[in-house]
Symmetry: C2
Subunit: 288 residues, 2 copies
């Protein structure tokens, strides 16, 4: 008794979020050895714990999922670092709900059901979440300016008149946003990360760091592409791939991590996917 | 709205426990830059979050305080590092209850009321907490072998026949155990730490590290005295005092921290008091 897998899903989600930021080295991201001037380690701890009411709401099927997510973001914004875990919560909240449906670890069918059941009210609440914190996002495609997430709660009428679901909002953004793509691909990369975590060896935070590198080696980070362009995102992934393939020693990965932080190159989406993977892995019995 | 001071006290306690372990350098203790082979950073994160049910019980005046503490320790023991926060929880649980009484931050009178209301059932539950995790403690005084905490739940009958309260148990141990002394001195050093934290400058984790050094400079750590003898405890405090007085640069404090970890000298009680101080400070409006 008392195993982490038997905890309420909201508590497993808190732990997943804190383990995500603690894992080191996670090249380019805040981790327990690296931080940016205005975005520090403690902001992520407070963000993870501040998100609790929303995570609890995500575990309560009577609360619309979009509303739970908005609440999680509002709680996350308790700290002064700004956006710490918007993307991570966007991955973790539906996984928490899927875990409740599956009565254990999220499964493919439970994730499908959660995504497919979203409606226009979830979409509206998702837009409102952008009112609580500054999130770096790209412009919408030319024909979708009125669906720009930066409109926040102001987009409610547009969303309602188009009666667009949250799943549809994600589908529209999935070629530019990595977490939107996860929704559309039914959290395929989060499940893949969970496999690597569960089947790995050694302390959980070493597994987390290795999983991060593997995810980064697999696909260019969409957030790096947004902030620095596709070429930089590709070069980061090429380097991660070389380090992962050759099982580079920790010093070499640390040095890569330092160089990315110096250039402010922050593969944030990859970290968000790791958070989702950690949640699934803890739900499957990964011990700490 | 949404400020940390307005959170439920149990959530503020979670954050206090995670901030405590994250603060660095905290010479000799696990922090986010230093850990021991079998006692790692992630064990403290999982311990803090695992303690949630007990922290919530501590905030519920209908649950005996000793039972809440036992539940917190049982939850803390979800991870494989062993004893991470027994002492910190022994400081934080009564402060959480005092915060509820005071409807805000703990105060002197609310702490008095919480300590004075403990009874023999609290004492019995406190002893049972030792059944959940190995805690390094010293032998009891010669006339009190039957009150050895290492008897755990087995001491219930003795406690009942003597009808000794938890506050009395603490008083008996207060010359050897720093948290027992806090109970007896009504959490004087936790309140002192909170003052330093609230009135300090800079990011909260820098304040936490400076407060730790100041606490260590003020008094030899009882846990170091127990594990390595009074002379070592005094020498650690003398060195901390010199570093604190001269406002030594971070590299010098880091080097002191490394030397203590190498010698396995772990001022754990000082860290527990810092956790209590962080809880009070967050309750008074310290921001992250």
């Amino acid at each position: 008794m008392g195993t982490i897998a038997s905890w309420p899903p909201s508590r497993r989600a808190q732990l997943a979020l804190t383990l995500e930021v603690a894992g080191t080295p996670k090249p380019g991201n805040v981790d327990r050895h690296r931080e940016y001037d205005g975005l520090r380690f403690e902001h992520f701890l407070a963000g993870a714990i501040g998100a609790t009411p929303g995570l609890e709401a995500a575990a309560d099927p009577s609360v619309p999922l979009g509303v739970a997510f908005e609440s999680a973001v509002e709680g996350m914004a308790c700290q002064r670092g700004g956006n710490t875990q918007f993307g991570a919560l966007l991955a973790v909240c539906p996984l928490v709900r899927a875990a409740v449906r599956a009565d254990g670890a999220p499964t493919g069918p439970s994730v499908d059901a959660v995504v497919d059941r979203t409606d226009v009210n979830d979409a509206i609440a998702f837009y409102r979440a952008f009112d609580h914190v500054d999130v770096a996002v790209g412009a919408p495609p030319p024909d979708f300016e009125d669906l720009d997430v930066r409109r926040g709660g102001g987009a409610a009428e547009t969303l309602r008149s188009r009666s667009i679901t949250l799943a549809e909002v994600m589908a529209l953004a999935s070629d530019r946003d990595g977490i939107a793509a996860e929704w559309t691909n039914r959290f395929q990369r989060c499940f893949q990360a969970a496999e690597v975590l569960v089947n790995g060896e050694g302390p959980v935070l070493q597994r987390a760091a290795r999983t991060f590198l593997e995810l980064l080696a697999d696909e260019p980070d969409p957030f790096v592409a947004l902030s620095h362009g596709e070429a930089v995102a590709q070069s980061v992934t090429d380097r991660a791939s070389a380090l992962h393939r050759t099982e580079a020693d920790i010093e070499t990965v640390e040095s890569f991590a330092n160089s990315l932080v110096r250039r402010d190159v922050n593969p944030g989406t990859t970290a968000d996917i790791l958070a989702g993977g950690l949640f699934i892995a803890l739900s499957r019995g990964l011990e700490v």
